[in-house]
Amino acid sequence: MDLTVEKLAKMIDHTVLKPETTKAKIKQLCDEATIYDFAAVCINPVHAEYAAELLKDTSVKVCVVVGFPLGATTPEVKACETTNVVGAGAHEVDMVINVGALRDENYDLVTRDIESVIGASGDAHVKVILETGYLKDDQKVKACLICKEAGADFVKTSTGFGPMGATPHDVRLMRETVGPLMGVKAAGGIRSFKDAIRLIDAGADRLGTSAGVAIVEDFRWVQYSDSWMAPDKPCWTCPSRMANMAKQPKEVYTWYKERCLTCPDKEHNVFND
């Protein structure tokens, strides 16, 4: 796509989800989102009303997370939370999928969980966070299909609190699975315009990041050189490089690492680059 600074900004959910976030930080977030005309601010429920008030005369949406960051509450609690945040002014709801139920193949519960949020969301769009770092590729595909079937508006890669951020591999897989009409949001670990462009190229149409200002500002460098986007070592963006035994279930970690054995780029898998 012919990406401009403005188009890039309009793909970004300007995000602050840290527990220590103050009202001053929310004010700054909303001010920046207004200046740069980001798609939305992505915040915790406690700040929804304040952000909605600050952004009421702008085109910037209020996106609020639900069941965050673990996704391990009940469908009823997620629905209640959704009702609450939508009532407070949220235009978008980013819910965390029931990761454990998905891994248990308890797809009824996963579906009911998502449907309960959609049912409580009114006109708000619902994005479902898969937390891909806990999943193998077949599980990611299954999760995408459930989300699509349930009527969610977006699938989203990660919370930013889990074992892995967004990777082009996952975004590509998710886009291929959900097709062109559903949204794919990449989130977690997006720090530079190069990260952003790679994920957009892989199929993302929304980016969740706390580095939105830097990404948009630095994107202005693109006009001065083509070399920023020169290929890097393939392992740099591969989820297998990011796999972490301390944070992932053993079989998931092992699955990621076993991919390296048959990877055509495995000679690049060194740790001093």
Binding site: R191, S192, E217, R220, S227, A230, P231, D232, D273
Partner: protein, 596 residues
């Protein structure tokens, strides 16, 4: 008194030290539009007025102190000054920069630049008190160190003035003599202090009370507010540099196997933690130092043996530390302070000591020097400044020293200037930047450590040679443009070319885009290249010491070599230079540089 407030209306001050005449000339409009000011102004003056082959230490050499169109305005970091001359160290055109507060005073006094001609028959200093300019006797302060000189001159003139001066190293024409300001800020590189010493000029003192205006104050205010916000949003300019200063780089460079150790024989220093930015903060920090108008404050102030000293900065820690195998941070801070006191470039001092240590190690030189051993090194530094014994030989820099002892390959230099604190084997683009720098081994002509190591603005693969010529050229041109504005290099972490251009346009009324600004930088870079070619430099000088074509044995950059030839041919092509590294007629025409 009335003063011109816009840079375009600000005169150049010409001072003949030979006959003590002083004259003011208007800033030529064409020169201003094509070269802006600062580095560009000085380079153009040198190119037009210095005969090829001029001895850099002869009266015929010119010494230019310049500020830029942003100096002393509200543009962040714009209180610096640049010294441009033909370097006695490299024989190239040379620009050397310093922070502090001198530049702002010079600009407020109403001058765009001071051009020093000839040579005084006795030691003098120049006192610029707004538009009153006076050449004063300096015989009583000749011989004093830079701290005593600064104090004595301020007592004689005005305590609110700012001093740029030389110490014993400059007086004795040492080839690593710096010009010091505010005691510990240095226009350090290239022996510019020796050029000052060769003119019997001990110092320039400036006191300015004039207002510096802007073409469109409201537009400038908006642009400056935005630029300050970007600095506050950037992790490097708002966190790393304010908290740790430049020494934050030490651990990073070491982790990547790029921290030159024992004269670049290794890229990893075992005691890196002990000389890191974190350790400096923990053990010796006594505050930070902000140059004029700087919201970053990367400067360090350390408490050493009961007194406060400036620094040490990253390059100084490296040069006087790992480069010499030395792991005593307190000693490094003392040695750094000694260099400031004597008016010497810490990079070249440390690197030359490291080269001497390797010469000793290899049995080429008999001197009391050994990697890792500080014994006697402070005395050697004193001897380098005062031209005594082996110190006199070392004061000429590592290239001449290593040649003298039959091992030129042990000097880690380009065009006679010692390479700074990043092993080029660990970052291909940075290596190309060293090789093609117009002033020799320098990390600041094209700081590709930003993208190749720090990920600013994005991380690029440090091992790939392809695409690096393009980035080196971009950074060289941008750096040259920033040096014409005379703003700090660190703003580059937060600002794009568009931001500089907007502030410049608002301040001057000279409407520029980011691309226009880069074109000015490109023009400066090509004119410098022409100057060097005229002095006899060729493509063969665009190279690196042979060490960098052999792999590092271990560490984060192990098995890497520099792929220079591949990058260099691409670089020449992109620059519009022929295979001999000469700008083609088409290139010069494109840049409005008259073809001779």
């Amino acid at each position: 008194m009335s003063k011109s407030t816009l840079y375009a209306d600000t005169p150049i001050l010409h001072v003949s030290l030979s006959d003590k005449s002083i004259r003011r000339e208007p800033l030529p409009p064409d020169l201003y539009r094509q070269y802006l000011g600062g580095r560009g102004l000085g380079v153009k003056l040198l190119f037009d007025n210095l005969a090829p082959g001029t001895d850099a230490l002869s009266p015929a050499n010119l010494l230019v102190f310049a500020v830029g169109p942003s100096t002393a305005t509200s543009v962040p970091t714009a209180g610096r000054f640049v010294v441009i001359t033909k370097s006695p160290t490299t024989g190239t055109i040379f620009d050397s920069h310093a922070g502090g507060y001198f530049g702002a005073q010079l600009r407020r006094a109403g001058f765009a630049a001071v051009v020093l001609h000839g040579k005084s028959d006795t030691p003098v200093y120049l006192w610029i008190n707004d538009d009153q300019v006076e050449i004063r006797d300096a015989s009583k302060i000749w011989g004093k160190d830079t701290y005593a000189t600064t104090d004595a001159i301020l007592e004689e003139t005005d305590s609110k003035a700012q001093v740029a001066c030389i110490g014993p190293a400059g007086e004795n024409l040492g080839l690593m003599a710096a010009i010091m300001t505010d005691k510990h800020r240095a226009a350090g590189r290239g022996g510019v202090g020796a050029v000052m010493g060769s003119k019997n000029l001990k110092a320039i003192v400036a006191r300015g009370t004039g207002e510096v205006g802007a073409h469109d104050p409201e537009r400038l205010k908006t642009a400056v507010e935005r630029s300050r916000r970007l600095i506050k949003k950037n992790a490097v300019t708002n966190k790393s540099l304010p908290v740790y200063g430049t020494p934050v780089l030490l651990s990073v460079a070491n982790e990547l196997g790029m921290l030159p150790t024992n004269n670049f024989q290794e890229g990893t220093f075992n005691d890196a933690e002990g000389v890191s930015g974190e350790k400096l903060l923990e053990r010796f920090s006594a505050g930070t130092y902000h140059c004029h108008g700087c919201p970053i404050g990367c400067g360090r102030v350390s408490q050493i043996q009961g007194r406060k000293v400036g620094g040490p900065e990253y390059e100084s820690i490296w040069a006087l530390g790992p480069q010499c195998g030395i792991n005593d941070l307190e000693w490094i801070a003392i040695a750094n302070d000694r260099c400031n006191l004597l008016g010497m470039d810490t990079i070249s001092v440390g690197s030359t000591i490291g080269a001497a240590m390797e010469l000793v190690e290899k049995g080429k030189l008999d001197a009391p020097l050994k990697f890792g051993d500080t014994t006697g090194v402070l005395d050697i530094i004193d001897d380098m400044a005062h031209m005594r014994g082996i110190g006199a030989e070392m004061s000429e820099g590592s290239k001449r020293l290593a040649e003298r002892y039959g091992a030129p390959e042990l000097a880690m230099q380009v065009k006679g200037l010692e390479i700074p604190a990043y092993d080029p084997r660990g970052a291909q683009g940075h290596a190309l930047g060293y090789a093609t720098s117009n002033r020799g081994g320098c990390h600041l002509r094209s700081y590709l450590i930003g993208p190749e190591v720090l990920g600013s603005p994005v991380l690029v693969d440090r091992d790939r040679p392809d695409g690096k010529a393009d980035l080196v050229m971009l950074y060289q041109d941008l750096s040259a443009a920033m040096d014409c504005m005379v703003v700090c290099r660190f703003t580059n972490f937060a600002w794009t070319a568009d931001d500089y251009a907007e502030m410049l346009s608002a301040g001057t009324g000279f409407e520029l885009s980011g691309h226009d600004l880069l074109r000015i930088g490109e023009r400066v870079y090509n004119l410098e290249r022409l100057f060097n070619l005229r002095e006899g430099f060729t493509a063969k000088d665009d190279t690196l010491p042979p060490r960098f074509f052999k792999p590092l044995p271990e560490g984060g950059s192990r098995n890497r070599v520099v792929h220079l030839d591949e990058m260099l041919s691409e670089y020449y092509k992109l620059r519009g230079w022929d295979k001999e590294g000469r700008p083609t007629k088409d290139t010069l025409k494109k840049l409005d540089i008259p073809v001779s």
